[in-house]
Each structure stands twice: as structure tokens, then as C-alpha cells.
């Protein structure tokens, strides 16, 4: 019945303690009786009994501690005491709670992002059984539809296997496009994942047959936002890329697709791909890589076994799907491919790939901020512990055990960190939405559910308790080294332990300065990188240029007519009021899409297999003048450069430099060869300045521009429109012009500068957050240093007063007092320099135009930290030497 007793005892600690008292009194009384019997006087017996008995409160306390209930009671008492102590010094409490709240909140927010993006399994049945298929290497995980059909034909390896391709469909019937994230999925997509419908039914294997009906499943969120959750949505028509689809069902609310960060709103069967993209589509294209494959392992099968079985069937699969139009080398490579399975419990994620390292860096940054905050709180607690030395000594002297005192000090730290964590959770809730917003952008929204679940709460709790212990250890250690005798005698300003606490405080300050320097330097590099990238000359002028993308696939136009319509729309745009210049292009800069091919120049010997692989683009006349890229030699394209005319090209300076030795290439010839193309001879008719192609970080790469009418194939044309006046006027102008030519087409419109900014989302995130946290770290370090200095100076008031009275000059005194701060800061900076070397190396891959040890950044960071530190140290020092010596000395 032991446990029951303990539980019952929780509710009657008072009775328990009374019992114990009576029991001990009885014992004492019996002892006295016995002593009197042996001939002692009653007084002497009482004295002797008390002596023999020992320290009665100690016995009581030790007996009481045997009891869980009593233990709980004493914890409550400790908590009450700690709360009272915190309330008694609101300034200290506020400073500590704020630093902890910000530190823990930042950690929680970043961790919730890391957890969602990197660690969390997909919310589907048994995610541990899911594997993704790849060709040998885990990154090589995109397949063609013929490959998928061949792999699907191999039964028995998986307990369910499906393919999906991510896409974006236009919901608008005409006019300005409204894009929705969408997945083209094979028949067993939902059944393999074990997804249930919230309404209607989901796609089945029988829905995925060539020439299938246009059916669609929508997500729960889409059902709510587009249809207000109407029950009769099943059977409704939905326009996708201007084709009618019939809604057959809604997915369960918890289903978020298989790509973390991308929430598909619409699912259509793979077989409807030709309908979506226009005939002939990609179903039989052996060179169109657009599908990802996921399988479910049967119970008891391991990834290794599945890989072995896949490898066994791979040669047959690749032989059966060999692209006929590939060159000799390409075919050989294709047949060398093999198949393998990789664990896919966490699904796919583009966001994960792009942000994994960046998130790791941020996690490190916020951890350092928290460390600095901890150092601050430890410092504050140490200073307080010094002030409470007498109290602790008194408690020890009247018989409190040291364990009890340590527990009490630790209770106070953990109470602080827990309250800080509560504040931190509020901060994290508020900021995590902000974080997701910074990762995504209007064009590719990122959908992440960062609600606080038990994993994040567990993390926060862990952080809170460990930080509480971390900054509580120093004061706790201090409290058990207190010598009651000395502390009580010396009247407060005591000797050894105070010196020890000052040493502790100094170590903390040095650490803070070092960590702050490492953070400031790292943030400086990231901010500098972002600044360079935003101010870099991209080779064109993005301001005032709108991009309007026309998707031909949905228009059912054969290739020649596309050119006619495209030309007609271009003329219409150019005659629209407010439009300064307009052009069209297959690709736009930094759009995330690229087109590359080989060039063969007589007299140029490629140094490697991909040495002569260059970027391509197909453009209309006026492309360079619209974007503001200078034509350096030769001519622009004209209407005469059409499909029947001789092949011509305009090259950029980088290409001329590399392949033509820097000479004017106009009039020279070369061969160009794309993936499926045979070599085509072309004549260079123009030379243009270099411009960014794929990313602002790229070196200016060799690029070939061909007339869009001579480009082999294109599914979309993007118009570049430079106009004056407001953006909304420009958008309306474009839509009016478009309606006049193509009343049924829809256009996706965005700005070129927006497209550039979106390509820097990761850099912006890193720069903004690391800058913010470095500032926070600096502020915390400043507070820490100020606190330590102020405390030191207060302690030396008398000494300073005497020195002033004896005739020391103020300057001399100032040097004396600040000298110490200077030494601390210097030590911190040296240590910080070493930390910086280590830290900046970790962000090397994010830097642009800077080495990890960029001298300018390092000097600026060091100067900044030193200046802030000296200001923090100097203020208390100046105040100290300004004081009136008489007043100080009279205080005694």
C-alpha cells in the first residue's frame, strides 16, 4: 500500500509533519526518563538528551524528505519562493525573460520549420514502407512515361506503386491566368498512400487508361476555398488549362500530397496529360522526364531486397524504352542506367533541397543567440547570488542541507527558463508564419503546416529545461561553495566566493563577445552577398518590364499558326498605349527554366564532354532593346528570319570570347546540336552584351539566341512588355491587347524584377534572419557586458573614491576601470576571431563575391563589436569616476 500512502500523504503534509514532531518529542522524553533513572538531575538530563539527539530540525527535514509528498511540497515551496524572488526584482526578471523568450522563441520557430521540412514523415498510413525509385543515384529520380509504364508492368516487387508529375494548371477560362498547384497521378496514387475521400471518390486504377475521361479530384482546402465546402461539388465542371474536367471527389483534410512544402489543389489522372498540355503530349515521349515514382514495400521486404529486384529487371526496362533519336553516346549511357529504391517516409521536397543547408545555418545561428542569452541570465543570476550570499549562508548555518539550497537555486533558473519558453512559444507562433512567407513567393507559394505539435512542444520543453540547467549551474555551484562562517562574519562584501563569481562573470562576458563577433561576421557576409546579388548588373534593366506568358498547349494551335498568332499579339501589344517596347521569348531570365545544347565551332577543341554545352533561347526581334541588353555588333533578328529562311543566331560576348577567341563573330558559322536534334549549321548575325540566364549567381555563361520562329519546339511564349505608368494600367493594357487577338487564351502575368527577387528568396531569408539575430546577439552581449561592468564598478566605488581623494586624475582612473573591460573585450575578440573562421566556413556555399574570410567584412564586424563593447563598458566607468569622493567616503 506504499504508493497509496504516498498519494494520500500529498494531501496532508501538515498532519504528517505534526506526527513526526510528536514522535520525536516522545523519543526525547523517554531518553530524559532513562537519564534521570541513572541518577542525573532533570535539568542535566534534558541537556544531555538534547545533545545526544543532535540537530532536531535536520532530523525532521531528513525524515520528511523520505516522502514523495513532502518532496512535492518542498518543490512547491521552492516555486513559491522563486516566484516571490522574481517578483521582487522586476527589472531583472523582465530582462531575463525577454532574452530567454527571444532566444527560445527563435529556436522553436526555426526548429518547427526544420522539423516540418526535413524530419517529419508524410501524414499517410505507414510512411516507413514508402520508397522512391531512382536511377542508381538518389538525385536521379525523374522518369519518362514509357519508363513508368515499363516499370509498372513488373508486378510483385511492390505492394502498390504509383507515378506522379507536378504541374500548375490555369483555373481561369480566359484573361489573366489563375494558377493552381496540381499533380498528374497514376491510378494507384491514392490507394497506395491509403488516402480516404472526404467526399465522393478518389481516382482508381480504372480511371487511368489511355484516352480516359477528364476527371479531377480536388484537395480539401481547395474544396473549402473555391466551393465553400458545398456538398454537391461532385459532378461539377472545373476548367483546367481551359479544358473542362469533372470533379469526382475531395481528399481527406489531413492529406498534403507527397511533396513537403507544395500542396496540390487538383489531382488528375496521368492519362489526361495530352488533354492538359495539348496533343501529342508526353505520354509516349521517351525523352520527356517529368514523373516521380513511389512504391510501398510489402510487409517484411527491405529496401535492399526491393533494390535487388529492381536492379534485376532494369536492363530489360531500359532496353525497351531506349529513345530512338539519341546519339550513340547517349544511348550507351541510357542503357547503363539501373534502378534502386530509397526510403521516402518524408516524401519529396523541393523546398527541402533548396533550404536544407540554409535551415541548418539558421538553426546554428539561433542556438548561438540562445547561448548568449543564457550567458546573460547566468550573469544576472550570479550577481544576484552574490547579493544573496548572506541569506544562503544563514540558511546553511541553521541547518539547511546543501542539496536543498542547490535545488532551490535551480528551481529559480528552471522557473525562469520555463516562463521564457512560454513567451518563446508565443513568439514562435507569431513568427513561423512570417518564416513560411519568406520562403515562398507569389509565383510558387510554399505551403507548410507549422502548427505546434508534440514534437515542437517537446523540443521547446527540452530547450527550456536544458537552458535552465545551463545558466543555473554557475549560481548553484556558487551557492554550495559558500562558507557560512566567512560569509556571515565579513558582512556581505565577502572574499573568496565573490572573486569566484567575478571570474565566472568575466568568462561569460568573453564568451558572449566571441559568439557575438562570430555571428556578426557571418551575418555580414550573408548580408553582403545579398547586397551584391541585388545590385549586380544582370545585363538587362528589369524595372518596368512585365512578363506575360501565353501557354499555346491549351489553344489547340498547330505550330505554324502559333507563330502567326504570336506575331499578331506582339504587334497588338506594341500598339497598346503606354507600351514602350515589347518582344517575345521562349524563356525569360532567371525563370527557373532553361534550355541548353551543344555548339560545335570549327577550330575549337572542347576540353570535356560538357565544355561546349551552352544556354539557348528563342526570341523575337526587339528582345534585346526591350530588356535593355546592348547589341554590340551585327543586327537584331527580323521578320525575314523565319522557319524557311537560312538559320541565324545572335551570340553573347561570353560565347564569342570562348569559342571565337574574342574576335567579332558576326558572319562566322557554327553547328548547334540539341538533345534530340541533329547538328544544324547556323550563321552568327549579331553580338550582344552578356546577360544573366539561369541565376544571378551564375557566371556570365555563353548563350546562343535563335529566332523564335526557328526554334524547334516551344509550348509557351512569354511576352516582355516595357511600359510607362502604373503596373495595374500596364496589366490591363496587356489583357486588353490579348483579348483582341486571343479571346479564349489566358495569361500569367508577373514582373521581371519580381522574378529576380523571387530567385533570391533563400538569400533574402538568410540575410534578413542572420542580420536580425546578429543584432539581437550584439544587444544581448552589450547588456551582459554593461551589467558586469556596472556591478564591478559599484563594488569598487569606495576604492575609486579613495583614489580620487588621494589625487588620482580622472583620466587615470578611467584607464584603470576601462582597462579591465578592454582586456575582456580583447580576449573575446581574439576568441571570436577563431570562432569566426570556423563559422564562416560553414556558410561558404551561400556566399557570392566574397570569401569566407573577406577582410572588409571581418574588419567591419570586429570594429562594430569592439565599439559596442567599449560603449557598454565605458558608461559605468565614466559614471564611477564622475562621482563625488566625499559623498562616497562619507557613506561609511
Amino acid at each position: 500500500m506504499g504508493w497509496l500512502n504516498r498519494v494520500v500523504n500529498v494531501f496532508r503534509p501538515a498532519r504528517l509533519s505534526r506526527d513526526l514532531d510528536r514522535e520525536l518529542s516522545f523519543h526525547l522524553a523517554e531518553t530524559i526518563d532513562r537519564l534521570i533513572e541513572s541518577g542525573m538531575s532533570p535539568e542535566a538530563a534534558a541537556r544531555e538528551a538534547a545533545r545526544k539527539f543532535g540537530h532536531r530540525p535536520l532530523v525532521t527535514e531528513r525524515t520528511r524528505d523520505m516522502d514523495v509528498a513532502i518532496w512535492l511540497e518542498s518543490v512547491l515551496a521552492d516555486l513559491r519562493y522563486a516566484l516571490r524572488a522574481l517578483r521582487a526584482s522586476p527589472g531583472f526578471t523582465l530582462a531575463a525573460l525577454l532574452s530567454l523568450g527571444l532566444g527560445i522563441g527563435a529556436n522553436t520557430a526555426i526548429y518547427s520549420l526544420v522539423d516540418t521540412v526535413i524530419f517529419k514523415s508524410l501524414p499517410v498510413a505507414r510512411p516507413d514502407q514508402l520508397v522512391k525509385l531512382a536511377m542508381g543515384d538518389t538525385r536521379n529520380d525523374v522518369f519518362t512515361n514509357p519508363l513508368w509504364e515499363a516499370i509498372r508492368g513488373q508486378g510483385g516487387i511492390f505492394d502498390g506503386l504509383f507515378a506522379f508529375g507536378s504541374d500548375r494548371f490555369d483555373l481561369a477560362p480566359s484573361g489573366q491566368a489563375r494558377m493552381a498547384e496540381a499533380d498528374l497521378v497514376s491510378g494507384r496514387f491514392f490507394s497506395t498512400l491509403g488516402v480516404r475521400p472526404a467526399l465522393g471518390r478518389l481516382l482508381l486504377e480504372s480511371d487511368d487508361r489511355r484516352g480516359c475521361a477528364s476527371l479531377a479530384v480536388v484537395s480539401y482546402g481547395f474544396w473549402q476555398s473555391e466551393y465553400g465546402g458545398r456538398q454537391d461539388v461532385v459532378g461539377h465542371r472545373l476548367s483546367l488549362n481551359q479544358r473542362p474536367f469533372t470533379i469526382i471527389g475531395v481528399t481527406a483534410p489531413e492529406f498534403i500530397g507527397v511533396e513537403v512544402g507544395r500542396l496540390p489543389q487538383v489531382y488528375v489522372p496521368l492519362c489526361s496529360e495530352p488533354v492538359i498540355h495539348g496533343a501529342p503530349g508526353m505520354l509516349d515521349a521517351r525523352s520527356a522526364w517529368w514523373l516521380q515514382l513511389i512504391g510501398r514495400l510489402p510487409e517484411g521486404t527491405t529496401v535492399v531486397q526491393a533494390t535487388a529486384r529492381l536492379a534485376a529487371v532494369a536492363p530489360g526496362i531500359f532496353a525497351a524504352t531506349l529513345p530512338g533519336n539519341w546519339g550513340e553516346a547517349g544511348r550507351r549511357d541510357y542503357l547503363k542506367n539501373t534502378l534502386a529504391a530509397y526510403p521516402a517516409a518524408t516524401g519529396f521536397s523541393d523546398v527541402r533541397q533548396r533550404y536544407q543547408t540554409a535551415l541548418a545555418v539558421l538553426m546554428g545561428v539561433v542556438a548561438v543567440v540562445l547561448l548568449i542569452a543564457c550567458a546573460n541570465v547566468a550573469n544576472l543570476l550570479l550577481a544576484r547570488a552574490a547579493a544573496r550570499e548572506r541569506e544562503i549562508a544563514m540558511r546553511l548555518a541553521i541547518g539547511a542541507s546543501r542539496g536543498r539550497v542547490v535545488r532551490q537555486v535551480l528551481t529559480e533558473s528552471i522557473l525562469l527558463s520555463t516562463l521564457g519558453a512560454g513567451l518563446g512559444l508565443l513568439f514562435a507562433r507569431w513568427s513561423s508564419g512570417l518564416l513560411v512567407g519568406m520562403i515562398g513567393n507569389a509565383e510558387t507559394p510554399v505551403s507548410l503546416n507549422l502548427s505546434l505539435d508534440w514534437r515542437v512542444l517537446g523540443f521547446t520543453l527540452l530547450v527550456a529545461v536544458s537552458t535552465g540547467i545551463l545558466f543555473g549551474v554557475a549560481p548553484a555551484w556558487r551557492s554550495i561553495t559558500v562558507r557560512p562562517h566567512g560569509a556571515l562574519k565579513s558582512g556581505g562584501a565577502s572574499t573568496t566566493s565573490t572573486r569566484a563569481s567575478l571570474a565566472g562573470g568575466r568568462i561569460l562576458v568573453v564568451t558572449q563577445v566571441a559568439l557575438a563577433l562570430a555571428l556578426v561576421a557571418t551575418a555580414g557576409l550573408l548580408l553582403g552577398t545579398f547586397r551584391t546579388l541585388t545590385t549586380i548588373d544582370p545585363g538587362f534593366r528589369p524595372d518596368g518590364v512585365l512578363l506575360a506568358q501565353l501557354d499555346f498547349g491549351s489553344l489547340d494551335l498547330p505550330q505554324p499558326e502559333r507563330q502567326v498568332v504570336g506575331r499578331e499579339l506582339l504587334e497588338q501589344l506594341r500598339s497598346t498605349p503606354g507600351v514602350l517596347a515589347a518582344s517575345g521569348a521562349v524563356l525569360t531570365p532567371v525563370s527557373g527554366r532553361h534550355w541548353n545544347g551543344f555548339v560545335e565551332v570549327a577550330g575549337y577543341q572542347p576540353t570535356g564532354e560538357t565544355d561546349n554545352l551552352v544556354w539557348f533561347n528563342g526570341v523575337t526581334d526587339g528582345y534585346f532593346s526591350t530588356l535593355g541588353t546592348a547589341v554590340l555588333a551585327g543586327r537584331d533578328f527580323t521578320d525575314a528570319d523565319d522557319a524557311r529562311a537560312p538559320r541565324v543566331a545572335i551570340v553573347n560576348r561570353a560565347l564569342a570570347r570562348k569559342f571565337f577567341g574574342g574576335a567579332n563573330p558576326v558572319g562566322r558559322r557554327f553547328q548547334m546540336r540539341g538533345g534530340d536534334d541533329h547538328a544544324t549549321p547556323v550563321e552568327v548575325v549579331g553580338l550582344v552584351a552578356d546577360a544573366m540566364y539561369r541565376s544571378l549567381r551564375d557566371t556570365l555563361a555563353p548563350t546562343v539566341y535563335v529566332p523564335w520562329t526557328q526554334a524547334e519546339h516551344f509550348g509557351a511564349l512569354t511576352y516582355e512588355v516595357r511600359s510607362q505608368g502604373s503596373t495595374s494600367d500596364a496589366v490591363n493594357g496587356i489583357l486588353r491587347a490579348a483579348k483582341a487577338v486571343l479571346p479564349n487564351a489566358s495569361f500569367e502575368i508577373r514582373s521581371l524584377s519580381g522574378q529576380l527577387a523571387a530567385s533570391l528568396a533563400r538569400e533574402r531569408l538568410l540575410a534578413t534572419l542572420s542580420g536580425f539575430f546578429a543584432g539581437l546577439a550584439l544587444l544581448l552581449a552589450l547588456i551582459g557586458l554593461y551589467g558586469t561592468m556596472a556591478y564591478n564598478v559599484t563594488r569598487r566605488r569606495k576604492e575609486i573614491g579613495i583614489r580620487v581623494a588621494l589625487g588620482a586624475t580622472r583620466l587615470r582612473l578611467l584607464r584603470l576601470v576601462t582597462g579591465q573591460a578592454g582586456r575582456l573585450v580583447l580576449a573575446g575578440l581574439v576568441l571570436g576571431g577563431a570562432a569566426t573562421v570556423a563559422a564562416t566556413r560553414l556558410v561558404q556555399s551561400f556566399l557570392f563575391g566574397r570569401t569566407p574570410l573577406d577582410p572588409f567584412t571581418l574588419i567591419m564586424a570586429t570594429t562594430l563589436v569592439a565599439a559596442v563593447a567599449l560603449v557598454a563598458g565605458a558608461i559605468p566607468a565614466i559614471r564611477a569616476v564622475r562621482q563625488d569622493p566625499q559623498a562616497v567616503l562619507r557613506e561609511e
Binding site: 510528536r22 514522535e23 543532535g54 524528505d65 516522502d67
Partner: protein, 111 residues
């Protein structure tokens, strides 16, 4: 920190208390300490600072039961009785003790 004087080998106090209760039956704390001291010819002295925490813990473990009652001298005292669980515990601890002393004895004789 002052060293706590412990005349009884750590861990054997419970054994001694259990044995005493088994031999004497219902007893209060003072009688238990007296008994141990007397039987051991004053070789073992039970400190109050150890006895009451130990009794309390044994009560929590369910080895002894405690109740308030009057002594012959008409004083209120807390009397302890062995429970069946306490008897089992006693047998176990006695066994352990015998093993230990036997082993120590062997070492002292032959090592």
C-alpha cells in the same frame, strides 16, 4: 559539510529494525533503538537522525505499519508492527547479510 556519524554499517539499519520488530513484536522507535543497543552490548548505537527517516521509509515501503497508542507510562507513542511484506523483506535481507559476512569471512581467512 559535517560528516554524519554512522555507527551502523550503511544499509543494515533496516535489517536490524526488521529483526527487532520480528523478535519483540509491536514496538515504538525508542524501544527499537534501546533493544538494538542492549542486544549488541552497546556495540551498536542507533542514531535518531537515522532511525526515524528509516522507519518512515519502511512505512512508505509497506514493510511496517504504524499507529498511535499509549505506553505503560501513559505517553502517546507511535508503535510499529511488522507486516507480511516486512517479514519477506527481513528474510531476504538476512539471506543477503549471511552471504556477505560469509564471503568477507572467507576473504579474511584465506586471502
Amino acid at each position: 559539510m559535517p560528516k554524519h556519524r554512522n555507527d551502523i554499517l550503511q544499509g543494515t539499519l533496516a535489517l536490524l529494525v526488521l529483526r527487532t520488530l520480528a523478535a519483540r513484536g509491536r514496538s515504538h522507535g525508542y524501544a527499537i533503538s534501546e533493544h538494538i543497543q542492549r542486544i549488541s552490548d552497546d556495540q551498536l548505537r542507533v542514531e535518531e537522525g537515522s532511525l526515524y527517516p528509516a522507519l518512515h521509509r519502511m512505512e512508505q515501503e509497506g514493510w511496517v505499519r504504524a499507529e498511535w497508542s499509549m505506553t505503560e507510562k501513559n505517553r502517546q507513542a507511535r508503535f510499529y508492527t511488522l507486516t507480511p511484506a516486512g517479514r519477506r523483506q527481513l528474510a531476504e535481507e538476512q539471506e543477503n547479510w549471511n552471504r556477505l559476512t560469509d564471503a568477507v569471512g572467507r576473504v579474511l581467512r584465506y586471502a
